[in-house]
Amino acid sequence: MSESQLKAQYGARVTTLLAAYDRGDEVAFLAVLDDMLHTRRPALFGELRELTCNLQVALDRFRVDSRLADLAEKDIPDARLRLAHVLKMTDEAAHRTLDLVEQSGPPAERTVKSAEKLLQSWQQFRARQIELRAFHEMLKGMDAFLPAAQADCELVRRNLAEVLLTQGYQDLTGQIIRGVMQLVEELEITLSGLTRLSGADASLAQQAERQTSGHGPAVPGVTQGAVASGQQDVDALLSGLGM
């Protein structure tokens, strides 16, 4: 407020106030004083409102800043470890699948070749055109082929069953990737909260309500608390509980 504004707003009242004071007129003195306070009140409320508003903004900024610090210091490095674990699991599953397929090639090939060889003699035999020596050769071939084919096909069948099981990695990695996606979403919300502080509250509260549906697969170096190391550990724990 400039000097001229100050004089215009309060000058006359200060003069009247001083005159009442000099006269010892208590009633007039208090009336002018009340009038001055009344004029000042809306300005005081305005300042108070502005102060409260600033405090709210500061509190919100602090809340967003501390969540952002948490994300940067803990959650993001955790997410990196989780993704590294996903990479390891997909790599292992792909190699295991390839190993099994490669192992299945030779027995399948062996069976095809042996069957082809026997088929020729078999067709001659069915056409009654086979010689006795060739017939005996065919019988010997059959003796060798049947158990070999059984063993080879059994190996291929076992490998196929294991290929099937190996695909289970997709469930585990999928759950981890979903967790990281949720983190990215939270990071997005927190960052946009920095620019729109008023909107940050509800979104952060929503994020805090999570984790009622399980934690997902245990990730070495990330998952905290006691974790069963394998099925034997689970069985021992359940047996301890009387199951």
Binding site: Q167, D171, Q175, G214, G216, A218, A228
Partner: protein, 128 residues
């Protein structure tokens, strides 16, 4: 229990449902129904006819633990054998599932032998 018994496999990942279904078929169980979370599984169970429930834990919608609790709270389903087949390996969770009345608990990744062993054990146990 005969090989005609009907299984309900609940998992949000279709690959895992396929794996479990194939393993059950290998074991001679051909009658397998699927659901992708507790919410879709519960109406199937309530319709009746399911003899064995195999469920994952961590699923959007209704998690497996809530499904287990809902099954145990329903007088018609309370005695249904429930095998939890999950990646949740925290000791506190295994205890929580046991307290909620799970019949067996297998952690992922698992082997065909483990699944067979747990199924046989649950089916051999007298109904509670």
């Amino acid at each position: 229990m005969s090989k005609d018994m009907k299984f309900l496999v609940v998992d949000d990942f279709s690959t895992m449902r396929r794996i479990i279904k194939n393993l059950l078929n290998d074991l001679g169980y051909q009658n397998v129904t699927e659901a992708d979370d507790g919410k879709t599984a519960l109406p199937i169970l309530q319709q009746g006819g399911i003899d064995f429930l195999i469920t994952d834990w961590n699923m959007p919608g209704m998690p497996g633990l809530d499904l287990l609790k809902a099954v145990r709270a329903d007088s018609k389903l309370a005695k249904l054998p429930v095998l939890m087949l999950t990646a949740e390996a925290k000791r506190e969770q295994i205890i929580e599932a046991a307290q909620a009345g799970v019949s067996g608990y297998v952690i992922k990744p698992f082997t065909a032998e483990t699944l067979k062993e747990k199924l046989d054990k649950i089916l051999a146990a007298p109904a509670k």
